[in-house]
Amino acid sequence: MLAFLGSAGMVVALVGALLLVIRGISAARNETQPNLGGAAQLLLAGAVVAMGAMMLALLTDDFSLVYTANNHAEATPFPFDVATAWAALEGSIVLWGLVLAGYTWFVFRRYRANPDRLGAAALAVMGGVAVFFFGLMITVANPFEVCVQALEVGCAQSSPWVFANVDAPANGPGPNPLLQNHFMMAIHPPVLYLGYVGMTVPFAYAIGALGLGVAGPEWLRRSHRATLVAWSFLTLGILLGGWWAYEVLSWGGYWAWDPVENASLMPWLVATAFLHSGIVQQRRGMLQAWNFVLVISAFSLTILGTFLTRSGTINSVHSFTQSAIGPALLGFLVLTLVGSFTLFSTRADIVATSPRIESMVSREGTFLANNLLLSVYAFVVLVGTTYPLTLEAFTGTQVGVGEPFFNRLAVPLSFLLLLVMGFGPITPWRSTPPGLLWRRTRTPALVALAAGLLTALVVTRNGWVALAVTLGVFVIGTMTGLFVEQARARTDKTSETLPSALKKVAMGDGAFWAGQLSHVGVVLVAIGIAFAANLGSHAEVDLSPGESADFQGYTLTFESPFRQVHPSKTVVGARMTVTRDGTFMGVVEPSANFFGADETGVSTPDVLHRPGGDLYITLLGIPEGGAATFQFDTSPMIWVLWLGGLTAATGGFLAMAARRRERSHIPDRQTADV
């Protein structure tokens, strides 16, 4: 029944997507005024029904679906039963389809309010992408196959024919243990997908504009706004992923340059570059061709990331042909790249923009530096992630490219970006009057150096930390100076008080100041990483029950081992009390969770959160009456990293809100023309 419902949903969505392509193209050509609403409705309704059927199957333990049979267990508790919907490949594509249909609906709503050819063309492109993903679902990654030969646990043989004779197993093995160890798994993937799939919208407007042969500000305005949406969600998604890794993966890490992480970082970097270079086109009419390249690249990188992480190619180049998913995604990637760039090159005459850059010491110049650094950054991540695969595929040589490689290149690039970020917002457009930059930077630079010195004298003499603090304070300093300078300019002219003038300045160019808030977020992330990566300490200790160990000023006492049996898992752990200078700080229970028949157990660290940083305890050896092995780590100031990520994403969302306001009011952008 649910297999039928889900399959029907997929087919309806596919039909909607096809109709959207046909009618969208026709509307874009101005031949007719076809009703695009019906197609968009079909697409959205089909996607919702498909996801609904999947959710129902999981919530009602319907093991006749092969997806449920192989990825779900009766005992899987809420919210992990819901999260199982995207725990494996087929389900995650259903989520992808739903998010894509949702974004298409938003693009359609905009078109309905204000129909034009660009909107119709963009809808046709969205429809085309949806055709691919729903086609993928129906053919090679069908989430609604039924089980026709059950095993004791799980399913041996499946059939895509929904009316086949069902042989449902009594229970399934449950989702991957790592994915049911933290509630974050219910939130992180959908948020990340909102970011990932969101990159389709700017791509759709860009391709729509190229297809129509209409360049200019309109496609850019819409692509830019859509990128802001996707970028904000992607930022939040990456942050949640880092937090999940920190809470679950048992070594106190939040980022390991893992291919899955890199896959989300690459489009983020390129989208960040576009958010900046798009402003140059809006204000100065330059860089249009480059903006097309960035938007196409950001979308292509989301497809490449999906290919790398979902085809199994990363684990082993040999698994490339294990399923048709890999070749299908790779084919789609090639189609996207070749199609987009061919279209782009045939429109070379309209994308070229003529204004000449007057001076490199200008806002445009800093944006160029920012784009160069971000593009090279994305390129480093791309090369580092794909190099071992490509080399092995062609020569059979196995090489490892890991954290040391990425850190060696990413750290200097990040510091250069911080430096440019300190100058960008205070540099005027076109050209800079002599002495202006010096007036605007001398005080922030002095304060920043003082902060760096203070850090070196009081906190640590680690160079990376001192550099991060110095550059971070410089960035915040220059932007604060600009803020006050503009408010002063108001109070000098009028009788306003300074606080009210500050408020007027911030409201006057909301998008700009929201962007500055994101800059503050990035600064906090940099400082948080510098502290956590350089000042953490690490120890491994064997303790018997009753024994204590001293670690970084804490005294940890192993009180007793424990064992708890839950319906879905067995928890084996150690109870410890933590004191500092004789004061009781708390009880921690590092443990290992055993899900179902999983023998190895998922190590589940416990964290004592403190304002100065976390104390992180992992149980390495499982106690059986005797001694247990513990790993202790400190993560100084790690909360600054989380706060920074959250601030950066908030800046993105506020910029979206500010753009929305601007559309209804007459824009007052005087303040940005510094």
């Binding site: 646990v153 684990n315 042909t321 294990q322």
Partner: protein
């Protein structure tokens, strides 16, 4: 004080601060944890991209304690790393050297940075010409050519990469496809690859068992062992699959390692699943006879085996001769 004098003082103060900061940082006592630093450079062989310093897996822990041992013995970093790389297959350096096959990896980002800066400078000197009514076609073709080449070459690269990947994977495909086909045509390497790639697939255990049998028959116990173990521990296998795996594990423990106790324990696990398994009964008898010298128990077990009416004539003959020898009290064969 004049503006100029103030500026000079500011610059002098800044320079002094920078110098102090650099001195403070440069003279800071180094507290590099060598064990950790070495561990972060080595990829854990059984993990996905994690270094041995960051992996909680038991192999990574073993390797880390080896590193700690060597560091306290006073070995140099290069010596320790080389030893790890040579004694653990699959352990590779996560920090690729600037040279050899990874030279291009280091050159590419540098080239991109220089190339990008070059493009910006070129673009600044030669901004695109504004659109004119001049021969549009040739202008278009001129701009088109490099982009078409770029797009086309990208496509070729990707397609060739895909072809190579496919070629290397050989005839293997997903477990589902392999399950329906005759495994005899599939090479061991291909099966290993398929198994690794589909470790969680419910049908993979059958293939594991088939592969393990091949290794077993070739006498390669160490290759067979992990697969039998995985099958024995899997929850997705049928009872008879688990029994076969346990019986093989038991025999390998005895035959390969002379561990009679372990072997008997494994046979008992198999018999707990299927109390009438002739192979388990017979082999347990063998180990009792040869390993622990428990003749009585061995004779009982051989008799149990002979009670099975479906025993093949060959096997019956062998068990009967063993039973006779055991009753005579002679040493096991």
């Amino acid at each position: 004080m004049s503006e100029r004098a103030r500026n000079i003082i500011t610059i002098v103060v800044m320079a002094a601060m920078v110098v102090t900061l650099i001195v403070l940082v440069a003279t800071s006592p180094s507290d590099i944890n060598r064990v950790q630093a070495i561990g972060e450079q080595i990829k854990c062989p059984v993990c996905q991209g994690e270094s041995i310093a960051n992996s909680p897996s038991s192999m990574a822990r073993d390797m880390m304690s080896l590193v700690a041992e060597r560091v306290s013995a006073g070995d140099s970093d290069t010596e320790i790393i080389e030893e790890l790389l040579s004694s653990y297959s699959g352990a590779v350096l996560l920090d690729p050297p600037v040279g050899g096959p990874t030279l291009a990896l280091w050159l590419a980002p540098v080239a991109a940075l220089i190339g990008g800066a070059g493009v910006i400078l070129w673009w600044r000197r030669h901004p695109p010409e504004p659109n004119t009514d001049a021969p549009k076609e040739s202008a278009r073709a001129r701009r088109l050519a490099p982009l078409l080449v770029l797009g086309g070459s990208l496509a070729v690269i990707v397609v060739v990469a895909g072809f190579f990947l496919q070629d290397r994977a050989g005839p293997a495909s997903g477990v589902a496809n392999l399950a329906g086909q005759d495994l005899e045509d599939v090479s061991n390497e291909t099966m290993e690859a398929v198994i690794t790639a589909n470790a969680d697939h419910p049908q993979v255990d059958g293939m594991r068992l088939a592969l393990a049998e091949r290794y077993y028959e070739a006498g390669d116990y160490s290759a067979a062992f992990p697969h039998y173990l995985a099958v024995a521990q899997s929850t997705k296998v049928t009872g008879s699959q688990a029994v076969s795996a346990l019986v093989r594990l038991g025999w390998m423990a005895w035959d390969g390692n002379d561990e009679a106790e372990t072997a008997i324990g494994l046979f008992d696990q198999a018999l707990a699943i299927d109390s009438s398994s002739s192979t388990a009964l017979y082999l347990k008898g063998q180990v009792l006879w040869c390993g622990t010298g428990d003749l009585e128990a061995a004779i009982d077990l051989f008799e149990d085996v002979l009670a099975d009416p479906e025993l093949s004539p060959d096997a019956r003959a062998r068990v009967e001769s063993d039973l006779a020898a055991a009753r005579d009290g002679s040493a096991c064969t």
